[in-house]
Symmetry: C2
Subunit: 379 residues, 2 copies
Amino acid sequence: MRARLFTPGPTQIPERVQIAMTNPLIHHRGIQFKQLFQEVRDDLKYFFQTEGTVLTLTSSGTGAMEACVVNLLCKGDKVLTISGGKFGERWGLLCNNCTADATVLDVPWGEAVNPEDIKDFLKKNPDTKAVFLTHSETATGVASDLQTIAKVVHENSEALVVVDSITSAGVLPFKMDEWGVDVAVTGSQKGLMVPPGLAVVALSNRAWERVEKSDIPKFYFDLKKERKAQEIANTAWTPAITLIMGLRESLKMIREKGLENMWEKYALLAHATRQGVLALGLELFAKSPSDSLTAVKLPESIDGVAFNKHLREKYGITVAGGQAHLKGKIFRVSHMGYYDALDMISMASGLEFALADFDWEFEHGSGVTAVQKVFLEEK
Amino acid sequence: MRARLFTPGPTQIPERVQIAMTNPLIHHRGIQFKQLFQEVRDDLKYFFQTEGTVLTLTSSGTGAMEACVVNLLCKGDKVLTISGGKFGERWGLLCNNCTADATVLDVPWGEAVNPEDIKDFLKKNPDTKAVFLTHSETATGVASDLQTIAKVVHENSEALVVVDSITSAGVLPFKMDEWGVDVAVTGSQKGLMVPPGLAVVALSNRAWERVEKSDIPKFYFDLKKERKAQEIANTAWTPAITLIMGLRESLKMIREKGLENMWEKYALLAHATRQGVLALGLELFAKSPSDSLTAVKLPESIDGVAFNKHLREKYGITVAGGQAHLKGKIFRVSHMGYYDALDMISMASGLEFALADFDWEFEHGSGVTAVQKVFLEEK
């Protein structure tokens, strides 16, 4: 049985990236690395649609989130964090951890934040220094209206817009400079289609002014030190060289395909999957679904932990389960990564098999047919 | 021309490790990863010769050094840091960064710290909470007498012994528990023979008592959170999965060979290389040389930057240059990693070729012969 990975990080890796990472190791202080890293650095600007600075760190996405908080803020800064899932929550924990004055705007899991609520907060708190939010919440599969939120923040405050775009960069339409996003972070194992181990932070010039003033101690995640090094295609600390080799290849692929075409492809994969899920009589968990991943509610008669295990053991399909109070209640399927239409059809087919094994009643073939129909109409 | 990497990190990677890392990616929250990570966790205890806790982080070695400082100390703690090179210096920077009361004991680059100097400090400062030192200083190729130092620290204070063993673990004799080392860190790209991107921290029970009390903010490098996760073969944050696949394989190889045999092998490679270098009329930079790497002084007539470039471009050999004030004055050759006797002979041969190109006078073949002689006598 062939293993198929449909988790929203790590995602499936293109063969070209896999091959690039098996190249002989090179020294990170030599000319070969410099050339390699220069390409990565420049292509990442395209990836984020920014003329700002994009820095690569050796850490998970959480490391890059911490880097944002400890580099952008001063102790006691008033900030707003939006929490509608495990990853949105993390912004609040990070800000509180470095003694910022953080207000957490709680959004029910499965829903997107209402930009009006952000506006209300900023009107009452015009001295807010930054708004930390999640573009695509991986825990719930919800996409927020980042473009509108960025506009609202800038119209009502001097606050920076700091975005966890971990499962949106390269996947959902995302135009950092045009939308006025000040800082965005991602991890290598999502839309960048590389194994985990690298994180990326993109910063506007406006964000750098704050970095200059920040009084929070940092060392490994010191972005000023990284900028100084990465300006000359170096890194402050020893980087994950093989992953950077992979990153160069995946960025090349993304450039070849074109970012807009990637966005369109993912939107189609997500739309088709949602149609398939609905055709099987299942419900979507997210009210404003992200095209990066689909979170599917399982019927009460089915235990999600057992279901996901069965899907993996019997059909080779690995999906992600629910987190925190959603454990056993939902499963999450990735569209971002190295996937195409036939992957989504395989997924729908495996899902039908497993649902039948769990005695869920539906018309056999209806899920696969619904997915296929979307692709046929687009051909 | 075949490229040969002789840098003291990244080091050459065994084929078996390379192959292990190309296995299909797995999800880090599934059973497969758990099994994999359990083996890594247990083998790392053997690697450090400890019954303590060994935690794997996704970062460079510097990240793990920061983790030590921010988890072991309280604000204002009095500490001693030993600085005899770029990496020893880093302990001082890290401690000062988190407002510890750090005294830096400066040792001339190329020399090992005198344990008596540590004793003197501790006699005058019995309230010292920790001594941070470097076992094998990668910048200078100097090994310190860790076993004696640990003894001296424990006899004269309650201070923790915290060791940068980045280029010593798995390479030089190192018995964490037996010697009373409280905390040791390493990176994946050294004796562990894996590409960079992972760091490892080993902690004694005594060290954990300090971790419980620490009041310095941390998040990504929160070792309590990591311990809780890694106890059940999980990780707090998304780990560098492919590198962990490689790490499992390299730890297996080290177990098969036996740690003592690895130490002996490295000692022999280093001894042979030193004999070769001396036979060519060159001098060693380190007065107490580490068997992990050899730092060689270049004659004043030869510019080190040009020499290393020539060695790489003409003979495919990459060595590391000097850092800071040693730039252009020394080169550094690794023994740690996936190297054997014939690798050291290749290295000596390339060195002879390049020295001849730079008009250094020596008897051709004398370097290679001296290296070979050591191995012949050991056969």
